[in-house]
Symmetry: C2
Subunit: 395 residues, 2 copies
């Protein structure tokens, strides 16, 4: 086990009706004038907007609204939010929505305390966003489970005409608190609920598939969350208003990335599947979780072939998570991947890139962009050729 620092600065208020703590908790963090940020307006149809402003009003908190934050949020939304926050003398940010709204608000929280351009705030050579030295206090009300943004220190922002996805990473942008009411996810469309499930699983797998350091506590906890996700996703598919299934998926989303707890004691921070998946989202505006489900099995097979000394970790995944009873490591690992593919099919993920609308002619350019900041991966390093092989295998 390697050395690590464990810290989860966010408090989570989890369950039905937890929005009742909103006003007082914002005030306890020094908030009086709130930048209230949300997405395309679904919160105005499902009642969450009304409940939120009612709580702000009751607490005597002023607020100014930033609406229309889009999926795969753009830096322009961040800049708009920063301006709005400053112009109106805000002192607190409240993000109501899914990962996109939350991520935009994290960048706003850092941006309002920084004099230079937002572009400075992304991860640099240091491995985190080292230019961030302060951030406005942020809270979130989660309306879609998946990204884990509600309890973590990361954000992904889309920049430029070529829709480049850039990562912001700093503990200061961890939300002060997050309100997690599973009922708020009842109206999320099936496709997005299931893409969230795929996103959660991928967060867990990206922390699981690392070189072995004997971090057993972390790996066994991780396996536990994966199993809870596999068990609850079908229930949610059967009945979108199954409270307990929604609750488990929501808490799995939060636990998956809280303090990157399942990566602690393990080497490195790589997230190669996210690196490749972001290119698909950029090019086709494809839902993030779907891109991950599409690429994961091909990446697993590629890694087993090119770095066979890592086979045991794939065999362990097969046995401990997918419940494969098979002694031979290679057979177990392959059966585990097949079981994972069957799971993705059961939650209605497209079977391959072609079915998802990707054009074969685009693969090479995407592979090139995926590695423009360096090779991806940690079990085996992926340059352009390797990424292209994986994309072709997933096509």
């Amino acid at each position: 086990m390697t050395n690590f620092v464990f810290s989860i600065p966010t408090t989570a208020y989890f369950g039905k009706g937890q929005i009742k703590v909103l006003g007082e908790t914002i005030k306890s963090h020094g908030g009086s004038k709130v930048l209230l940020a949300y997405g395309g307006g679904s919160i105005k149809q499902n009642g969450i907007y009304e409940e939120t402003v009612e709580q702000l009003d009751q607490a005597g908190l002023g607020y100014v609204e930033l609406s229309d934050i889009q999926p795969n949020p753009r830096v322009e939304s961040v800049e708009e939010g920063i301006e709005l926050y400053r112009k109106n003398g805000c002192d607190f940010i409240l993000a109501v929505g899914g990962g996109s709204t939350l991520d935009a608000c994290k960048a706003i929280a850092a941006g309002v305390k920084y004099a230079g351009p937002v572009n400075d705030l992304f991860v640099d050579e240091s491995g985190i966003s080292s230019k961030i030295s302060a951030a406005a206090p942020l809270a979130t009300i989660l309306t879609m489970a998946g990204t884990g943004s509600e309890l973590d220190m990361g954000a992904v922002i889309t920049v430029g005409e070529d829709h480049k996805k850039k990562v912001l990473l700093h503990p200061l942008v961890n939300p002060r608190f997050s309100i997690l009411d599973p009922e708020y996810t009842y109206t999320v469309p099936e496709h997005h609920s299931m893409a969230g499930v795929a996103d959660i699983l991928c967060h867990l797998m990206e922390q699981y598939f690392t070189p072995e350091t004997g971090a057993d506590v972390q790996d066994r906890m991780n396996e536990g969350v994966m199993k809870a996700v596999l068990d609850n996703a079908p229930k949610l598919l059967d009945n979108p208003r199954d409270y307990n299934a929604r609750a488990n998926i929501m808490w799995a989303s939060s636990m998956a990335l809280a303090g990157f707890q399942f990566l602690l004691g393990k080497p490195g921070f790589a997230f190669p599947l996210h690196g490749m998946g972001h290119e698909l989202s950029s090019k086709y505006d494809m839902t993030h979780g779907v891109t991950l489900a599409l690429l994961t099995p091909a990446w697993m097979r590629h890694t087993m072939q090119t770095a066979p000394h890592h086979l045991p970790v794939f065999a362990r995944f097969a046995r401990n998570v997918m419940e494969i009873r098979e002694q031979d490591d290679l057979k177990a690992a392959e059966a585990g991947i097949k079981a994972l593919e069957a799971f993705y099919a059961s939650i209605k993920m497209p079977a391959n890139l072609r079915e998802a609308g990707v054009k074969q002619a685009d693969l090479e350019a995407m592979a090139e962009k995926a590695v423009e900041n360096g090779k991806l991966g940690i079990l085996s390093l992926l340059g352009k050729d390797e990424v292209l092989q994986i994309m072709r295998a997933a096509f």
Copy 2:
């Protein structure tokens, strides 16, 4: 899943040599004059004392020492610490030791900010220590894994001539940070290392064996930590200087009680095994973890008999943790208990109360004291008669 609030206010610095952060981190929490508390002096033999004061000196921090905190720490040690802290104008508390030293320091941290007697600071009808409204900043350097005190909000203090164990519980006494260096546990004697293992397992089981609310994420994570403990304890027994085994046991200790995370979303907070075990520790000054190992199997069988509708949770434990492959719930549960007994035997726990030196004539008085503040338990409520039955079964 029931509603809950998740919060883990402690930062953990985990791994070899992490003591290097001590001085600067104390200062970042406003400390300048430290009450340095420790136990019987083993830290002076194994070099941890020297490393600690070297760090304090280098950082230019003053300190005053409180030594000789005993296992099952007494309220008199707490009172002594409070006086020392006040008399010397301290502003920070550093506990170096195992659970006893840490627990005493938590009570000191609350006590120095409270005008009345320490006795007011224990858990009252509210379920927590409601008289606590402030606490001095506290950090810990853990030298023995087991109690989980390094990352939780609880402390157990022994009071009065009859050695009554009283519980203090408040988020304000959570350490600001804990330094967890597995190498610092290399010299812990085998008996105490294994008692720590039993303590960790019991913390996990007390959160696991609750009425079913479908908190799958929490239960699966809990199972994962239990499995990691079962896997690593034998390695530690084989080689007390197995870094990775020490690291996994230490991190399991911390994760088991951090924010009571595995109890979140589940009904109630009961810890009946601790309630009974504390009476054995009081009467015989027996190591805490040993008392838990002695009582757990008897408690499990008693509960399965008196509250058979809870059988599935014991069967699930047997299958998911003890790897029992058996379809029938009753047979699986019983095989799980037998496997747990075999594990306790393998880590050299005494087989029964008699072997541990308990006198049959004392059982009734201990049973009576165990329930003097009310019945114990949550799967089935334990009055004096039930506690006596369990103790007799464990005799």
